[in-house]
């Protein structure tokens, strides 16, 4: 199978994706390798510099004449069947012992000389108390594994950093994203479309240079964001109300078999 590939990166400074499709070692299947990187790009406005970033992105796929092998997806988070939890507890006790009880205990021999001075200081019926204290604490260790390109349902992947840090750098470098398996009956066209979509809400801007010190109140910042998003949407590959498609790749092979005989 010889795959035709067409990739569009109209805003390659911000999002760049390339794909490579290789015939799999099993029959009627192909592996999809993807390289994907994000950039933080600046817009220079003389006195100001506006940085454009993305908080998260989605890789969406649409197989054509086949389906994605659900068992061979990149970035599957599989939760273990059982989770063992280790807990360390340091026990403590905080006890108040009345001197009378202590004395009685000493007399009866149950309580070894808790303090000889108790007996010594005791006068008449006056009671004092002694306090012994130990702290109680519990330690838990939880493990969290972050998967930068994590598989989700509906044949898509979410790309994000920990703690909402904006996307920057390569997230896939010729890594196998998935395997597509051809439908029975040898369809005329077999392949996959992959797109990088970013929600409008996930576009973030930051003024990194502001030599005239105009304060960027939230209203200005959010509307500047909207304005830039609107412009990016008009340049990008495609858009809808919610999201903008920044890069798209179509990979397919046309059947060479002439069914007409």
């Amino acid at each position: 199978m010889k795959f035709n590939e067409k990739t569009e990166n109209p805003l390659g400074q911000l999002v760049e994706m390339s794909t490579r499709t290789v015939e799999s070692n099993i029959e009627m299947a192909a592996d999809i390798f993807v390289t994907l990187c994000f950039g933080v790009e600046d817009i220079e406005l003389e006195e100001y510099t506006v940085s454009i970033k993305f908080r998260r992105a989605y890789l969406t796929t649409e197989p054509n004449g086949g389906r994605i092998d659900p068992n061979l997806k990149h970035g599957i988070r599989k939760h273990p069947e059982r989770i063992a939890r280790e807990t360390e507890i340091e026990k403590s006790t905080k006890t108040t012992v009345s001197n009378n009880s202590a004395r009685e205990a000493i007399v009866s021999g149950k309580f070894s000389p808790i303090d000889q001075s108790i007996e010594a200081s005791r006068k008449g019926k006056k009671e004092t108390s002694e306090v012994a204290e130990v702290q109680l604490s519990e330690r838990n260790t939880d493990f969290f594994e972050h998967i930068p390109v994590e598989a989700q349902g509906n044949d898509r992947w979410i790309i994000c950093n920990e703690k909402d840090i904006s996307l920057s750098g390569y997230y896939l470098n010729n890594d196998r994203l998935c395997r597509i398996i051809m439908d029975n009956g040898r369809p005329n066209r077999f392949g996959i479309s992959i797109a990088v979509e970013i929600k409008r809400q996930d576009i973030a801007i930051e003024i990194t240079k502001n030599t005239r010190w105009f304060p960027l109140v939230p209203n200005k910042e959010k509307l500047l964001n909207a304005l830039i998003g609107q412009r990016l949407a008009s340049i990008a590959h495609g858009r809808n109300d919610r999201a903008i498609t920044f890069a798209k790749s179509d990979t397919f092979v046309n059947s060479e078999v002439d069914h007409e005989g």
Partner: protein, 369 residues
Amino acid sequence: MKDSFFLESNFSHSDLDRMRGLIESSSSNFVELVNLAGLNPHTDLRYLDLAGVSFDDCDIRGFDFTGTNLIGAKGNIRTLWDNSTILHEAQIDDSIFQRGDQEEGVSSVLPEGFFRQHWVDLALWLNSNSVEKFTDEYASQLVEITLKSDDQYVRKSAMETLSRNVSIETLFSIIENRFITTDDKFLAKAAFQLLGSLYADNIQETLAVATRQLRGPWAAFAAELLVQKLPYGNQLKYLIELMSRHEDILVRRSFIAKLAERQGEATELIVRNPLSGDVFDFHSFIRKTDLENLTRVVIRRRQFEKEFLENNKFGRNFYDQVYTGAVSKEFYAKNTKHLEMQIFNRLDAFNKFGLGYKLPIFATAHLEL
């Protein structure tokens, strides 16, 4: 070959200018910034992140925030939004929209039962808040009390307290967008009175607010206010022309009655059909018999005035009516024909405002004699 390796090349000069304008704007008003950015509020504010923005002093009626994150969005008493503000799928937690300040008022601040309390309690509460402490929240509470209290006295007190403590611009906004939009006649009337009291401070805005109401449900009040306040001249002429085309006959009649009232007691008396008691509408046919009936009314009124002024100067008559003698001074003719002519002349002069009355021709003949 690539045009440029840098992103700016994808932005036009006008885009970059708009971005710079937005950064350098001295205003932080949301609507002004939307306009400055060239964003369409009906299409370009969907599915955005607008968390924490401020809608202070903004009219966002008709704005489409479908799917937008509006968590923590703030507003103030002058923020206007209603059912035309689209919030479908929007996240509105802890925002002005969730609290429903506009629709439900400050019910989160004032419990519902508060509005049904006895007026003494509310009056005490009103008085307990000194001017020094006057805040937007307090103003909101007063607006809500004015709108919702069951007690007319309390509502009036709240309205007065509000009018004394907020800026005139805020007051215009509250009158136009909160009080006049109500379906409560008492409140609307009081609001127009309050509006009228602002005339001396801001003539243009008072007239503008009233004029905008001429097509609204309280057109009669608006027309009354305008006819009282507008100086004689073209503006009044245009108003009369406009009102002559108003679809509601009650509004038209109410307007003419106020216009006649401005001309004095005599005119006020003769613009009503004596048989029906209704004000002659624009373009009415005033027949000879109407003039005769008006003459009888005037004669009777002169009699009342005479009796009142001679016998009951310091008190009130049986009908609790005070007569100043203005009608007798205006219509002083000794015989009926002459009196009829005076009434005709008065009506004719009133008609010059553009009322379009059709007066009997033979009455004009009397005039010429």
